[in-house]
């Protein structure tokens, strides 16, 4: 079971003066259990790519296969695909519309024509998955919640459909550091405990580095690099060239290496860096 993208091309406004190629030659496989990061500058095609993955947009050329179903081939299977591939948009809290949190989260399952008991069960599960106490939150109005809470409710709304794959587009945009950590913790937990395959889209390296086990770098609609976070971040020069920052730690390590310190190049966290630098210092100066 996997999502496969074969030779995807996507062109906006074809045949008009405003034509732009948003994606080109995209080949990609997302396997079950993956925790994939997609990074790229604004306009690199990230958002288009994820909309192709759940059938909201159709590729101009190429094929997308979700668990053996070719997207777009059979219109009746679209709802199945959208259930399998859960997509959380940027600022998902703007999609909330019901009077109570529980009703809003139930919107997805209801659209799947599930029974009332099953719906309620899923709503409860989903809300607990994102760290809420079901009893105390279910009758709240979603509009009375804080920004971070609203966002978690919106994510629960997608989770309640029990997707095999969860795609999140900049899930922490506009949140304060506390809210960000909260969301990332939840996502990490989801991946581990609920066994959901996660695709995390971001323009910020720092966020993704600690979480994912594979990174794809999009640049001008093409896959520019891919590999483990360590492989990607050790090429900080290349990343900077295409306008992406690297985690500050990686940058410091790079700079130290340039000046002749013998440190591993693939360091991602401050703790790792500390260990390595201490080791180097002990080797040479003590």
């Amino acid at each position: 079971m996997s999502i496969k993208a074969e030779n995807i091309k996507y062109i906006y406004s074809e045949g008009t003066p405003f034509m732009t190629v948003a994606l080109d030659e995209i080949n990609l496989e997302i396997k079950e259990g993956d925790f994939l990061g997609v990074i790229g500058h604004t306009g690199s095609g990230k958002s288009t790519l994820i909309q192709l993955l759940n059938g909201l947009e159709k590729p101009s050329d190429g094929k997308i296969i979700v668990n053996d179903i070719v997207v777009g081939e059979d219109k009746k299977k679209l709802s199945k695909i959208r259930q399998t591939v859960g997509l959380v948009f940027q600022y998902p809290e703007y999609q909330l519309f019901e009077e109570t949190v529980a009703k809003d989260v139930a919107f997805g399952p209801m659209n799947l024509n599930l029974s009332e008991e099953e719906t309620e069960k899923r709503v409860k599960e989903a809300l607990e998955l994102v760290g809420f106490n079901y009893k105390s939150i279910k009758d709240e109005s979603p509009f009375d919640l804080s920004g971070g809470q609203k966002r978690r409710v919106a994510i629960a709304g997608v989770l309640a459909m029990k997707p095999d794959y969860l795609i999140l587009d900049e899930p922490t945009a506009g949140l304060d550091p506390a809210g960000r950590n909260e969301i990332f913790e939840q996502i990490k937990k989801l991946h581990k405990k609920a066994n959901v395959t996660v695709v995390l889209v971001s323009h910020s390296m720092e966020d993704i580095a600690k979480l994912v086990n594979r990174v794809i770098v999009l640049y001008k609609g093409k896959i520019h690099m891919q590999g483990t976070p360590k492989e990607i971040y050790s090429q900080s020069e290349e990343l900077k060239k295409i306008g992406l920052g690297v985690p500050q730690v990686a940058e410091i390590v790079n700079e130290l290496r340039k000046r002749g310190f013998n440190i591993r190049p693939d360091i991602l966290t401050v703790e790792e860096a500390k260990e390595e630098i201490l080791k180097e210092v002990r080797r040479n100066y003590v």
């Binding site: 406004s13 909309q51 759940n54 909201l56 709802s79 959208r82 259930q83 859960g86 997509l87 948009f89 998902p92 703007y94 999609q95 909330l96 519309f97 919107f107 997805g108 659209n111 799947l112 509009f143 709304g157 997608v158 459909m161």
Partner: protein, 265 residues
Amino acid sequence: MFKNLTIGQHYPVESPVHDLDPRVKIIITLAFLVSLFLIDSFSTYIIVAVFLTAAITISKVPVKFVIKGLRPILMIIIITFVINLLMTPGRIIFQVGFIKVTEEGLKQAGFMAIRLTLLIMGTSLLTLTTSPIILTDGIESLLKPFKRFGLPAHELAMMMTIALRFIPTLMEETEKIMKAQKSRGADFESGNIMSRAKNLVPLLVPLFISAFRRADELAMAMEARCYRGGENRTRMRQLKISKGDYAASFIFIVYFAAVIALKIW
């Protein structure tokens, strides 16, 4: 869904018609409409056609675009044509059952269809050659004299400008929310009218909330920059009547005189 929607249909090229003062263009267009309703013979339409063709040619707007403006109104033209054709009493040309077509009906129907077509083409030329913002500037300036009677000209124009400015934004927003709800299994495309209307709730509620939020933010941002309505407000783009406007007015007066002359004669 919204990919083919253009707001205002401004066609941005440089031409003498584009450069005309919006006030002159608005007045000419209004007078052009009046002239259309003065006409009572087919032959006079030739003058109108010549005038309009000249205007379109000078404006450098492809004829295709001017004709495109007719599309939304096509149904109305057809219905008017058919009603006039069948409902006008007179000498019967042919009859099938209770449906009869009269000579007068045919004439009247053709007459109305041509009038509507020219009317739409004339007015779309105004919107094709004038950007919506400049158009509202023109309207504001033309409405100023009515301020004396309590007409809030500036406020109306500002409202129009803001509305125009936010249409694309709201469109984008609509599309985004639609996609988000579709991802949650919402269906906007099938079902009968009742269920379709009900299905719009998950789209409309977030849309209204965001529209109000935006309005609030905009009002705040404007107030923060000391906006207090039109009193003593200067403008960046001053409207000025130039040589071209005199020339256009002259040509139009000649056309209008010709139409009236033909009517009397």
